[in-house]
């Protein structure tokens, strides 16, 4: 017989999570292209910390760009991780949800911290 999960999944939440992952994937696709193109262009003259700070530091544009990038990752990755844990482990959905929420908090905190630090390192 089909096993019932300990935490029944909510149809509305599941569909919204799916949509959130798809929309964040669209944002990520754009961000990754810009990010990779920037890396390729930036390393042409050799890579140094000073060069990175010189480009990203103090720039509101890069702060917003990496802020959006981090937020898209914060939405996208934990939803995917949730599906993987559900398929590949015996953990209950309650535990999986908790783990993925923690992953989202960690990704958001660390990512935004880096983006803000880089912004604060440069400029006048």
């Amino acid at each position: 017989m089909i096993e019932e999960t300990a935490v029944p999944s909510n149809p509305q939440t599941e569909a919204r999570l799916w949509l959130a992952q798809r929309v964040s994937a669209m944002v990520l696709a754009l961000c990754i292209v810009v990010h990779l193109a920037t890396i390729i262009m930036a390393v042409q003259g050799g890579l140094s910390a000073a060069e990175i700070v010189g480009r990203v530091g103090g720039s509101e544009v890069w702060l917003v760009f990496y802020g959006v990038f981090v937020l898209a990752i914060t939405v996208h990755a934990p939803i995917g991780l949730r599906a993987i844990l559900n398929e590949m482990t015996k953990l209950s959905m309650g535990r999986i949800n908790l783990l993925c929420f923690l992953a989202a908090v960690m990704l958001g905190y660390l990512g935004l911290k880096v983006a803000i630090r880089f912004y604060m390192l440069g400029g006048a």
Binding site: M1, I2, E3, S9, P11, Q12, E14, R16, A83, M88
Partner: protein, 241 residues
């Protein structure tokens, strides 16, 4: 005159205990895998269990794993699948084995019921016929998936079914999508709720194994993608509460 033979390895046993047993079977012209299995049971080993009915690709009951791939054995010619003169026949994957090549289809059909993959009418005999144009977009979506005969080949192919015991599977979701597009059906919202969840349409990875293997050349992945869009739109409107 000595007749040409070939070796067929057939799974004997169930999920817990079993092994492949080799049989030497005469090679014949236009021989199907079902012919081979039937030969073994009637001439070599009457203890062999397997399931079939129509023999002509209508009923969908003779699906088995042939050389690693799920197929209708009645419509699979030996010449098309034989590898190095050998054939390996096993029960369908992802289903409990009753004995030898016979699987228990209970979970498969329970999931059709769970997906509310049944027509829910709203009219009576006093109402006029629903007029549905063959050119209607929804009618075409329904027609694209309607020919499923429930053989379980897609279900046996699907890795998500193997990984996620809750997953409703390609056939049930495909049927649900044909009903979502049925002009006369009144079970839309309830069905969308039924197919949305950790075991629902969102769990599909779009690997398209079901598309690759469906003997009716249907595209369950496209149907599931339709369900993903429909559930997402309904969730945005707050209709899946």
């Amino acid at each position: 005159m000595s007749e040409e033979t070939f070796t067929v390895s057939v799974w004997r046993g169930d999920d817990e205990v079993g092994r492949y047993q080799d049989y030497e079977v005469p090679r014949m012209e236009s021989q199907t895998v079902l012919d081979v299995i039937t030969y073994i049971q009637r001439r070599l080993d009457p203890n062999l269990s397997y399931r079939f009915a129509c023999r002509v690709g209508v009923c969908g009951s003779c699906a088995m794993t042939v050389n690693g791939k799920p197929r209708w054995t009645c419509r699979t010619h030996v010449s098309k699948v034989i590898e190095d003169g050998r054939l390996e026949v096993a029960p369908l994957r992802n289903l409990k084995v009753i004995k030898d090549l016979s699987v228990d289809m209970t979970d498969f059909f329970d999931k059709w019921a769970k997906a509310e993959a049944r027509f829910v009418g709203g009219s009576t005999r006093h109402d006029d016929f629903a007029k549905v144009s063959p050119d209607d977009k929804r009618r075409q979506e329904a027609s694209a998936g309607i020919e499923c005969i429930g053989c379980g080949v897609c279900y046996a192919t699907c890795d998500v079914v193997a990984w996620n015991t809750e997953y409703l599977g390609p056939a049930a979701l495909n049927r649900a999508w044909t009903l979502i597009n049925d002009e006369r059906d009144t079970g839309r919202l309830s069905r969308l709720k039924a197919v949305s969840g950790t075991g629902g349409c969102q769990a599909c990875h779009s690997q398209q194994g079901c598309v690759e293997r469906c003997p009716k050349h249907l595209n369950p992945t496209a149907s599931i993608a339709g369900l993903k869009r429909a559930t997402a739109m309904a969730a945005l409107k707050g209709e899946l509460k």
